[in-house]
Amino acid sequence: MSSSSTTTTTTRLLMLKASDGVTFEVEEAVATKLGAINNMVEEEGSEDLICLPNVNGKFLGMVLEWCKKHANNNTNSDKGNDEVNKWWDKEFVMDLDQNTLYHLLMAADYLSGTELVDLLTEKVASMIRGKKVEEIRETFKIKSDFLPGQEEEIRKKNSWAFE
């Protein structure tokens, strides 16, 4: 009986350095949930310190928190874990303010965390569904950059969507 096998396996630790100098020590299995880091690990091999100049420490921390949960929950692959992951994902995005959501999405995209990008874009989509154009502009502070008359033209072309 090798019951101790789970505790004796040594996992490699990676150091991730964010744009503001904050560093995170994470298990390789967790960090490689991010496609970009997985590529770097495969390419650079022995390098243990990875610099991520495009991600702020606050958001890198959040991305890694998500990775950790998913890496842990994925080790025992039974169906109940899918539910746990879903529930946890829901909690994760529930109270994100718009600013955090935006930066988290940029970070997840930069790090090629496909699943996390999916989760976050779904969250943004849920904020957009059924909303009026003016509401979207206000919520996301977007200014229309159309020439006068241009907007009317697009509205006309897609008139069925405004019915």
């Binding site: 744009s19 503001d20 100098g21 702020n56 718009q98 600013n99 935006y102 930066h103 999405l105 940029m106 995209d109 990008v117 874009t121 779904e122 943004v124 989509a125 957009i128 569904r129 059924g130 909303k131 009026k132 154009v133 979207i136 502009r137 996301f140 502070k141 977007i142 200014k143 229309s144 950059d145 159309f146 907007e151 697009i154 509205r155 897609n158 069925w160 969507a161 405004f162």
Partner: protein, 281 residues
């Protein structure tokens, strides 16, 4: 020195936080977000800004709204489509002509294919033909064909079920109009119009797998019967059969309308057939 650099970086980060603006998201992320909304949302939001417009018209967005089955229809269509959005609008909000304009297809809002065979696609034969009198193909308006009773007509229309939505319930409907014909008033017409046998045959590799038959009177259709009768502007739309489109068990469906009882008159009352439709639901 190191410390200063960090401060500068932090300032930049702080700026970025304030500027956080969804319009500065990369366009493919906006497309990904829009692909998770609805077609209506995606169209409406193209008005938000030029970046949204560009993201909202991307193929990535519209591919996600199209059922995977759509390529089977589009590959049989001659028309050139400018984009996936163009394809979506044509299939869901318009109609697409396929097989050299012989059939029409469109999707209903539940994403199920409707396929219509117009009169050009129906074959007409007669058991007791009399030259020049048993049926008239309208040369100028080929949108329908007129068939006289009394000659034992047999009208057939066939479609390959690969064109229809897989694993979906289908209704077969016949679009027609009884006509007023010289010498027969409508009373006489309706009392003398014989029942017609409608058969729906399912084929697998050319062999009949399943047949269902019904007898109906195209003029005296009782709305209380199991047939659903719908008066459309131009024609009557009568549901004459149904089947479950299990593409594993068969590959084609044929509908035929046969006059099985021979009447004494000919050149008599007639039916204008506009076509046969297969409606997924």
């Amino acid at each position: 020195m190191k410390h200063q650099e960090n401060q500068v970086e932090q300032c930049m980060d702080h700026d970025a936080l304030i500027r956080s603006n969804f319009s500065s998201l990369p366009e493919d992320l906006i497309s990904l977000i829009l692909s998770k909304t609805s077609t209506r949302d995606a169209c409406r939001l193209s008005v938000v800004s030029s970046q949204f417009r560009s993201a909202a018209s991307s193929d990535l967005v519209w591919e996600s709204f199209l059922p995977s089955h759509y390529t089977k229809i589009i590959s049989r269509c001659n028309k050139h489509f400018a984009s996936k959005k163009d394809i979506y609008i044509s299939l869901f909000r318009g109609i697409v002509h396929i097989d050299h304009d012989n059939k029409v297809c469109r999707y209903n809002l539940r994403g199920k294919v409707f396929c219509g065979l117009d009169s050009k696609n129906l074959t007409v034969t007669a058991n007791h033909p009399r030259p020049n009198s048993w049926f008239i193909l309208n040369p100028e308006a080929s949108s329908y064909l007129t068939v006289n009773f009394g000659h034992g007509f047999n009208i057939k229309g066939k479609v390959d079920t690969g064109l229809l939505s897989p694993n979906t319930n289908y209704q077969v409907c016949v679009c027609y109009n009884p006509t007023e014909v010289k010498g027969y008033n409508s009373n006489e017409f309706s009392s003398s119009c014989p029942p017609i046998t409608v058969s729906v045959k399912l084929f697998k590799e050319g062999k009949i797998v399943k047949t269902s038959e019904l007898r109906i009177n195209l003029v005296m259709t009782d709305t209380r019967s199991s047939f659903r009768l719908q008066e459309v502007d131009k024609w009557t739309d009568l549901t004459v059969g149904k089947f479950f489109n299990n593409t594993r068990d068969f590959d084609a469906v044929e509908v035929s309308l046969m006059e099985t009882k021979r009447l004494n008159f000919y050149k008599g009352p007639a039916i204008k057939f506009y076509g046969i439709g297969f409606r997924g639901f």
